[in-house]
């Protein structure tokens, strides 16, 4: 049976529930149906000959040899980070993870989003140290080699730029892909040394309440971090998805503050100064502060709050006619685990709980999925996440009403995609 016939076959055996959404239990019983979305996936080529008539040429000749560092399949070469170089400052700005072209929850290292303030430094790890000083009894320096001898932890966490989804403050919905809208977001397995271990060895004095972190890039990017976070789940990350952390992510080490806005996870970390108060660094005054309509701005608002986005289907994909589709997306919260993601296919009139693909981890991306029988009529898809603290994603309108019109940091409102009768997908505000 040809692959693309599968959806039709399943359609006949799948009982429908309201609005064409297929119940979660039914879906689990029916087994793997992800193939149904293959038609709208990226970069998937279809053979003109039906499978099975003739062996393809790659079965009749030896395959190629080994390589030192493997590359993705040739057909995947369009799966790239998206970025626009800024004239006069090529190393300043951001590149986005193509969330709509990826599956699961772990971001491949070469596709982790980037935000740099003056380029990626080419650091000689042998000449790099992490200094801890200020309000400590024993100022200490740790070489990379030294840190490698420390007890390590491995945890999966997302990193999201505070400016992610910033275009949602615009009057009109930006017609771009799910990655274009939300791709300042990635998730990795990080391995490193607990920051608390190092601070304990330096013996932080009682007055030490803030830790000023500084990078070794040519912007010497600097941020103030509360001591409570440093002593909780903060990590000096040395590895990312099993290999040494990439230069774009802070080689040889970065500060990882799970659930906090990306910028404070200082890359190329070289110095931690313990102080009594935060310092109003440029990136915690000029940037990443929340301006409200009365002219006051919230400062030191670190949490990336509960959020979700559907990535399949999304703009750039075209539905291949009525029938079975899997709606899938990502949900996350800087406060802990995602406990629930509800999906609507009718612009919010009714909601159905999506299945959360295990493992559902704290401060990590969670994949949600829901089977959908599309009847071919226009539909507005939305997702709404809830986290373990009970926080629920707000509507875009309620988020916007809190802030000045220029404010765009920390957007976590509900997002929508309009599936048109012709199968195209448009970004809509809901």
């Amino acid at each position: 049976m040809a692959k693309h016939d599968k959806a039709n076959t399943h359609e006949s055996v799948m009982p429908r529930t309201k609005k064409g959404l297929v119940g979660r239990r039914t879906l689990l019983r029916a087994g793997a149906l992800a193939a149904g979305m293959a038609g709208i996936g990226a970069g998937i080529a279809r053979a003109s000959d039906p499978i099975g008539l003739d062996s393809p040429e790659w079965m009749k000749t030896p395959g190629r040899g080994f390589s030192g560092y493997g590359m993705p399949a040739k057909s995947q070469e369009k799966v790239q980070r998206a970025f626009t170089p800024l004239p006069g400052r090529p190393g300043t700005g951001a590149s986005r993870t193509p969330l709509h072209l990826l599956e699961g929850t772990i971001t491949p290292n070469g596709l982790h989003f980037e935000r740099h303030h003056n380029g990626i430094p080419d650091i000689d790890a042998a000449r790099h140290e992490l200094a801890i000083h200020g309000l400590v009894k024993r100022p200490l320096a740790f070489s990379v080699e030294t840190l490698m001898r420390y007890p390590m932890e491995t945890r999966i966490h997302f990193v999201e730029c505070a400016g992610n989804s910033g275009s949602f403050n615009q009057a009109q919905p930006q017609q771009t892909s799910a990655g274009g809208l939300n791709g300042l977001l990635s998730c990795s397995e990080w391995t490193g040394v607990r920051l608390a271990t190092l601070l304990e060895e330096a013996e932080v004095s009682r007055e030490g309440k803030w830790v000023i972190a500084e990078g070794a890039d040519s912007a010497a990017m600097s941020r103030s971090v509360p001591i409570e976070k440093c002593m909780d789940d903060a990590m000096i990350a040395l590895y990312q998805n099993g290999e040494a952390i990439r230069p774009e992510q802070g080689y040889p080490m970065r500060l990882l503050l799970p659930g906090y806005e990306g910028n404070i996870n200082v890359k190329w970390l070289r110095r931690l100064k313990v102080m009594t108060e935060p310092i109003n660094a440029r990136d915690e005054t000029s940037h990443y502060t929340e301006l409200m309509p009365n002219g006051k701005a919230r400062q030191y608002m670190f949490l990336q709050e509960v959020k979700s986005a559907i990535v399949k289907p999304s703009l750039g994909m075209t539905m291949k006619g009525p029938g079975f589709y899997e709606i899938s997306g990502l949900a996350w919260s800087g406060s802990g685990r995602v406990t629930k993601v509800e999906v609507s296919t009718n612009g919010g009139s009714s909601w159905t709980a999506a299945a959360l693909t295990p493992p559902v981890l704290s401060k990590a991306l969670t994949r949600f999925r829901l089977a959908w029988q599309w009847d071919g009529s226009p539909a507005t898809l939305m997702s709404r996440a809830t986290d373990e603290k009970g926080a629920v994603q707000p509507t875009r309108a309620s988020w916007i009403s809190q802030y000045s019109p220029v404010q765009f940091y920390h957007f976590n409102g509900i997002q929508g995609w309009r599936v048109e009768a012709d199968g195209t997908v448009k970004h809509v505000y809901v």
């Binding site: 004239p87 006069g88 400052r89 300043t92 303030h117 003056n118 140290e129 200094a131 801890i132 000083h133 024993r138 100022p139 200490l140 320096a141 740790f142 070489s143 030294t146 001898r149 420390y150 007890p151 271990t197 190092l198 304990e200 060895e201 330096a202 500084e214 040519s218 912007a219 010497a220 990017m221 600097s222 509360p226 409570e228 110095r271 100064k273 102080m275 108060e277 310092i279 109003n280 660094a281 440029r282 005054t285 000029s286 502060t289 929340e290 301006l291 309509p293 009365n294 002219g295 006051k296 701005a297 919230r298 400062q299 030191y300 608002m301 670190f302 949490l303 000045s404 019109p405 220029v406």
Partner: protein
Amino acid sequence: MSTFKFGVLLIAALFISSASYAQQHPNLGRPLTPEEISKLDITVAPDGSGLPPGSGSVSQGAKVYTDKCQSCHGPKGQGGPQDQLTGGVGTIASAKPVKTPVSYWPTATTIFDYVRRAMPLQSPESLTNDEVYAVTAYLLSVDAVIPQDAVLDAKSLPQVKMPNRDGFVRWWPVPKR
């Protein structure tokens, strides 16, 4: 429990906890000397701690600005291809806020700290401390935050009253809703 037994238990408890401390704490850090720290530490705090010796006037700063900053940030900090640095004072609570270092940043120490560590973009750390004081003074003079004859140093810089100095609400710890 007798005092003796309690004492034995206490000693045992101390022994166990120090053993586990030693296990979790490799203690491999290299002690940093005061000289090393003073070379490394470029953090300037709002109270002025960390500001280096030196000084700079508005007129000296105007020259530094023209030579090193204007091509990116435009004359007097406006209209250049990169970020606007001056103006916007009084707009922050309006429907069209113009956020600049002068109109938005709460402390003048932030300008010094940022310029010294990160500017000019093509050659960070190339300005002398006197030049950083001077160019900070110049930027603040454009909107008359400080007078034209002002000289900034470690003592006067933290005392500059920024237009938006009361504009920020600390959101840590997160207020209970």
